[in-house]
Structure formats: structure tokens, C-alpha cells
């Protein structure tokens, strides 16, 4: 069943006197339950695509249907509701509210959804338990390790049972061991049926996904099933993993 349908999406910005084509005529479908990685060098349009998919931004042209609802022409407040209901965000820098404890951070989407207080406490506790933080409810972000913070963020993303989990470089600020733990959590969430969209520039991370979409210059350069993590990866642009890493450093 199709969850996301992008048709001929373009996104232009005006910067100074110049028009920047961040996305050109992108069409894309993602089915419910898929585990997709979006890759591409900086300036390839992957951030723009993520913002559009996350309903943080609207396209200049084209249509975007999320879960059967056309969201490309919605206004700010309608988009806010869609984000609240349909999308769970996981950011590279966690983006937790510093003054709020873990429980309150996870409750936040439920507050905006208007869930009564007892119900949302229960749901938030469950979500935190699911990411293994049942004993860290009252901790503030600065009392938690990086991996724990990202788990809180994942709990917050999951608590509204969104249709789509959108993770933007979720391991970018973590050491490789903690990063692997977080990726293991995503893998498990995927197995449990969540639709996950992973934006990354790390091949190792992208290989956790089942499908990899590569962007270049605002277009989809390739869209294919990911090889299993053990097999050697060759991207559609012909670059080997070493080449990719090279580009990443730029």
C-alpha cells in the first residue's frame, strides 16, 4: 500500500537575485513498511526532499500525497497537524527540549495532539520503555548520554504512532558503537512494521535500509534495493564506498 506519492515535485528558492533549483521534477513512491535510505552529497537536494517529505516545507510544483491525503497545498497549521499525526522526526542533534525531562519531551507531541494528561503520561512511559529508557523518565537531556538522548528522541517520534519515521543523520553525532545500537533499534522498528526514511551520507548506515535512493543535482540519480550489508556495495553512479567516503569529507 502506498504511503508516499510524490509526483513531479520541484522546489525552487530565491537566494539574493538567483533562483536555486533544489529539486527538479522528482517523482517517488514509498509503500507502507518500507525502510528507505536517502543519500546524496551536500547540495544534492536531500535536505530539501526530507523537509518536503516531513511536511516542513511545500513544493513549488508537483503534488505530494501522504497516506492518501494531498498535503502539497496545505497551509502552515494544517501541515502542523499532519506532522503531529503522521510523522515522527529524529534529528542528528536530537533536538530535545533542554529544560524538560525525558518524559515531558516524549509527551510533547501528545500535548499538541490534545491527548488527556493521564493517557499521554502512560503512552510516553510506554514509548520510553520501548527504547529501553524505562528508568530514565525524570532525567533531563544533559543528564543522559548521547545514545540515550537519541533514544528519547526516537521515543518522542514514535509516541504518536506516526505513519512515517523520518530520521535525519540519526547517528551523525554519536560514536560508532552507540550509532550501531541506534541503528539496531531502527532495524527492529522496521521489522515491527514501521515505515522508516533515513537520510544519511554514510554508506554503512544506508545499508541498514532495504532501499536506497540517491540524489544528485536535485534529481533522483538511482533508486534500488540495498545489497545486504555483507556484499560489496556499488552505487548507481559507479562510485565505490571509498569514493563515497571521499566525497563525504568534502
Amino acid at each position: 500500500m502506498t504511503l508516499i506519492r510524490l509526483q513531479n515535485i520541484s522546489r525552487r528558492y530565491r537566494m539574493g537575485g538567483e533562483t536555486v533549483h533544489a529539486l527538479r521534477d522528482v517523482s517517488l513512491e514509498i509503500r507502507r513498511g518500507e525502510y528507505v535510505a536517502i543519500m546524496g552529497p551536500s547540495g544534492s537536494g536531500k535536505s530539501t526532499l526530507m523537509n518536503l517529505l516531513g511536511c516542513l516545507d511545500t513544493p513549488s510544483e508537483g503534488s505530494y500525497e501522504l497516506n492518501g491525503v494531498r498535503v502539497s497545498e496545505m497551509d502552515d497549521d494544517q501541515l502542523a497537524e499532519i506532522r503531529n499525526r503522521e510523522i515522527g522526526f529524529v534529528f542528528q542533534t536530537f533536538n530535545l527540549l533542554a529544560r524538560a525531562n525525558a518524559l515531558h519531551n516524549v509527551e510533547l507531541p501528545l500535548i499538541y495532539a490534545g491527548v488527556p494528561v493521564h493517557e499521554r503520561r502512560r503512552l510516553a512511559r510506554e514509548a520510553l520503555a520501548r527504547v529501553g529508557l524505562a528508568d530514565r523518565l525524570q532525567h533531563k537531556p544533559n543528564e543522559l548520554s548521547g545514545g540515550q538522548r537519541q533514544r528519547v528522541a526516537i521515543a518522542r517520534a514514535l509516541v504518536n504512532q506516526p505513519s512515517l519515521l523520518l530520521a535525519d543523520e540519526p547517528t551523525g553525532n554519536l560514536d560508532s558503537r552507540t550509532g550501531n545500537e541506534i541503528m539496531a533499534l531502527f532495524d527492529e522498528l522496521s521489522r515491527l512494521g514501521n515505515t522508516i526514511l533515513l537520510v544519511t551520507h554514510e554508506e554503512d548506515i544506508a545499508r541498514h535500509a532495504h532501499r536506497i535512493i540517491r540524489l544528485r543535482d536535485g534529481r533522483i540519480a538511482s533508486d534500488e534495493a540495498a545489497q545486504s550489508p555483507r556484499t560489496t556495495f556499488r552505487g548507481a553512479d559507479g562510485a565505490n564506498p571509498g569514493g563515497n567516503r571521499q566525497r563525504m569529507v568534502e
Binding site: N84, R85, L97, R99, A100, Y112, R156
Partner: protein
């Protein structure tokens, strides 16, 4: 998400934010505190003056008309001159009024002069000597503490008796009982038959430094002319003051032989006029004072606006996160409005506390001032409104932020 839970959530967030920036919040509040203190004190002062004034003029009686040649409040010197040319008020006119008025309860002619009085070797100066009749007891609202008041008999026979105010009693007689003693007014001897109850001050003048004598005796011994100052007419029914006043006017016109086209050559004064005049004065003072003091509030408000802009700027990322998670514009707007309103309400409460203390001090040392519940409520309302108004622009900026931009900020 309904408005109530949004407000509650907003309040929680704003308290959190204020707690996180205690010093900054306190400093931001300072301006509001000052503003509320000045505005409240201004209000308390005006309120106190009004109350004191009403207390002062209450001795005039709300239902008593003062018929005189002069209006209490003249528009100009010319007015005053023309009123001086009016024919005098006479005792005969007062007697006619007493006979013909149906809506009056009592009519008391009155003439007075300031004089010094002697008792033995003691003397007291600047005493108001009032010539009137027994009806004065009703029209002036005085009460006898000791002895008796004037009687109709005193008037008819022009008895040289007098009723003295409590100040006169203490000044001249010290600890002795004045009843049955004789004192001298303008070289004439008067027998003290009564002492009045203490009345206090009116506009700083003692109402107890007076001696009341029968009008006939007054005119003969002290005054030496047939005219009187004014006629006090007490209405029978306070519910029909206007009718009583109109009847009084018509009878007066008739008594003074005025033709229909002629204007009144007398004035009917009422406590109400003084009150209205006074309120007009204090309203001007209040308006000017409020304008000046609200400048302080304005400065406080600008301080709040400034601090809110800072608060919004440094929480841009938080705003981005909240929006990404599903906060609508209204939610963000309310959050920051609540924050500004909370700061200002806190400042307002502190300001009220200071103003309360200051009011007590002022009342103790300077003049009557009082904090009425209305002023307290208004001050709270004004402080919250200041918060909402000065917080609006920053909150609006926060609410309209583009989530993508906001999330990108450091």
C-alpha cells in the same frame, strides 16, 4: 488541542523559561514594577482625596439646599460682581419660605460672622458666630452633646443665649462645665445653654469652633443689619430632591417679585455641586497623572518587548522543534504571550505590594490615600495587558517562523 490546555501548557512553559533565566526575568520585571507602583499610587492618591473630600462635604448634607446671593462656584470675576449686586436675602424671605414650601422639612435662615469671644479673662479669636433658628438642628445635622439647642422661644424673644461648639468649650472653659455660664460676644453677654457634639474638620477648618445664637439676637447685637447670608432648606424626601429644588426656586422667585422674563437673582447651592466641581478637578489631575505615570509603564512594556525578542531569538531552535512536532502558530503565539504576561503579572503583583506599603506610609504621614479593590484589579489587568501588548510582536515573529529555518539555526 483546546484553548484551555494550550494556556495551561503555555503557563508551564513560561514558568520554566522564567525559572531558567531568573536574573533576566527579574530585571525585565523591574520596569513593570515601577510602572505599576506609580500608576497604582496615583490611583490611590486620587481615590484617597476623593474619599476625604466626600467625608468633608458630608457635613453639608446631600438633601440640603443653600439659598444665597452667590453661587458657590463662579465662572468668572464678572459673575461674582453681578451676583454682588443682587438684592439681599432677608429674614422675611426665609419666613415666607418656611410657610409656603410643602416639600421642605425645615427652613433655617443663617447669618454668620467671625469674631472673638471672652469668658472671664480668657478669650478665643476667629470663632464663627452663627445666627439662626431652632430649625438649624435639622438642616445642619449638628447634635447637642450637653444641655439643649435653641428653641422657638429663644428666637421670638431674641434671648441672649448660645450653643457652643466643642472647641469653644475646651478653649474657654477648660475643665469647667460651660452650661449656665455667660460669655461675651461683641461686648454682649450670652448665656451658654448647650454644647454641640464634636464634628471635626471641613477643608481644614474646624466645625467645632463656632457659637450658635438666636438669629434675632444675632441681628440686633452682633450684626446690626437686617440681611442674612443664606437660607438652609432641608428637603422632606431625598427621593424627590429635584422637585423640592424646583418648588424652592419658584417660591423664591415669587417672594423676590421676579417677572417671568427675569433671571433668578439668587442661587440654590447643593453639596452635589461641590462634589461635581471637585470631581472635575480631580479628574483632570487623574488624567494628567495617569498620562505621566503610564509613561513609566510604557518604558516597562518596551523593556518586556525587548526581552521577549531576545527570548524568541535564543529559542529559535526550540520553536523549530515544537513546530516540527506539531505546534500550530496559535500554540507558539500563546506560549510567548503567556510568558510576557506572566513576567508582567509577576511585576504587577510586586508593584502592588510595594504600592500597598507606600500607601500606608503616605496615609500615615502625608494625606489620605487608599487602595481600593477596583484599583487593585485594574492594576492586575493593566499589567497583564501590558505583557500581552508588548509580547505580541515577539510572539507573532515566533509563531510565523519557518520550521525549516528555525531548525537550522544554532
Amino acid at each position: 488541542m483546546n484553548l484551555f490546555s494550550e494556556l495551561r501548557e503555555g503557563l508551564g512553559i513560561s514558568l520554566d523559561a522564567l525559572r531558567a533565566n531568573k536574573l533576566r526575568s527579574a530585571l525585565a520585571t523591574l520596569g513593570i514594577v515601577m510602572g505599576i507602583v506609580t500608576v497604582t499610587l496615583m490611583g490611590a492618591a486620587i481615590n484617597g482625596l476623593n474619599q476625604a473630600f466626600i467625608r468633608n462635604v458630608s457635613s453639608l448634607g446631600a438633601d440640603v439646599f443653600y439659598v444665597s446671593r452667590f453661587k458657590w462656584f463662579n465662572n468668572s470675576y464678572q459673575d461674582w460682581l453681578s451676583m454682588r449686586r443682587r438684592p439681599p436675602i432677608t429674614l422675611a424671605q426665609a419666613e415666607t419660605l418656611a410657610r409656603r414650601l410643602t416639600l421642605a422639612q425645615a427652613v433655617a435662615p443663617e447669618a454668620s460672622i467671625e469674631a472673638s469671644v471672652q469668658f472671664g479673662t480668657r478669650s478665643a479669636g476667629g470663632v464663627d458666630i452663627i445666627g439662626t433658628t431652632e430649625a438649624y438642628l435639622q438642616t445642619s445635622g449638628v447634635d447637642v452633646a450637653d444641655g439643649r439647642f435653641l428653641t422657638a422661644g429663644d428666637g421670638e424673644s431674641a434671648q441672649p443665649v448660645c450653643v457652643i461648639g466643642s472647641d469653644v468649650a475646651t478653649n474657654l472653659f477648660r475643665d469647667e462645665s460651660p452650661l449656665g455660664r455667660r460669655l461675651r460676644i461683641a461686648e454682649h453677654s450670652f448665656l451658654v445653654v448647650g454644647v454641640l457634639q464634636k464634628q471635626g474638620l471641613m477643608f481644614g477648618n474646624s466645625l467645632d469652633n463656632r457659637i450658635i445664637v438666636p438669629l434675632q439676637a444675632f441681628l440686633r447685637e452682633v450684626w446690626s443689619q437686617p440681611d442674612i447670608d443664606e437660607i438652609l432648606v432641608k428637603a422632606a424626601d431625598t427621593a424627590h430632591l429635584d422637585e423640592a429644588r424646583e418648588e424652592l426656586r419658584q417660591v423664591m422667585r415669587h417672594v423676590r417679585h421676579l417677572r417671568p422674563e427675569q433671571p433668578d437673582d439668587f442661587s440654590i447651592n447643593q453639596q452635589e455641586q461641590i462634589v461635581a466641581w471637585f470631581h472635575a478637578q480631580t479628574a483632570v489631575i487623574a488624567l494628567v497623572g495617569l498620562c505621566v505615570t503610564s509613561l513609566a509603564l510604557l518604558v516597562g512594556g518596551i523593556g518586556i518587548m525587548n526581552i521577549m525578542f531576545v527570548s524568541v531569538a535564543e529559542r529559535t531552535r526550540e520553536i523549530g522543534v515544537r513546530k516540527a512536532i506539531g505546534a500550530r502558530r496559535r500554540t507558539i503565539l500563546l506560549q510567548f504571550l503567556m510568558e510576557a504576561a506572566t513576567i508582567c503579572f509577576g511585576g504587577g503583583m510586586i508593584g502592588l505590594g510595594i504600592a500597598w506599603g507606600a500607601t500606608r506610609l503616605v496615609r500615615y504621614w502625608l494625606f489620605p490615600a487608599s487602595l481600593s479593590p477596583v484599583i487593585v484589579l485594574l492594576a492586575m489587568l493593566v499589567s497583564v495587558m501590558t505583557g500581552v501588548i508588548s509580547g505580541f510582536l515577539p510572539a507573532w515573529r515566533a509563531a510565523r517562523m519557518d520550521p525549516v529555518e528555525a531548525l537550522r539555526s544554532e
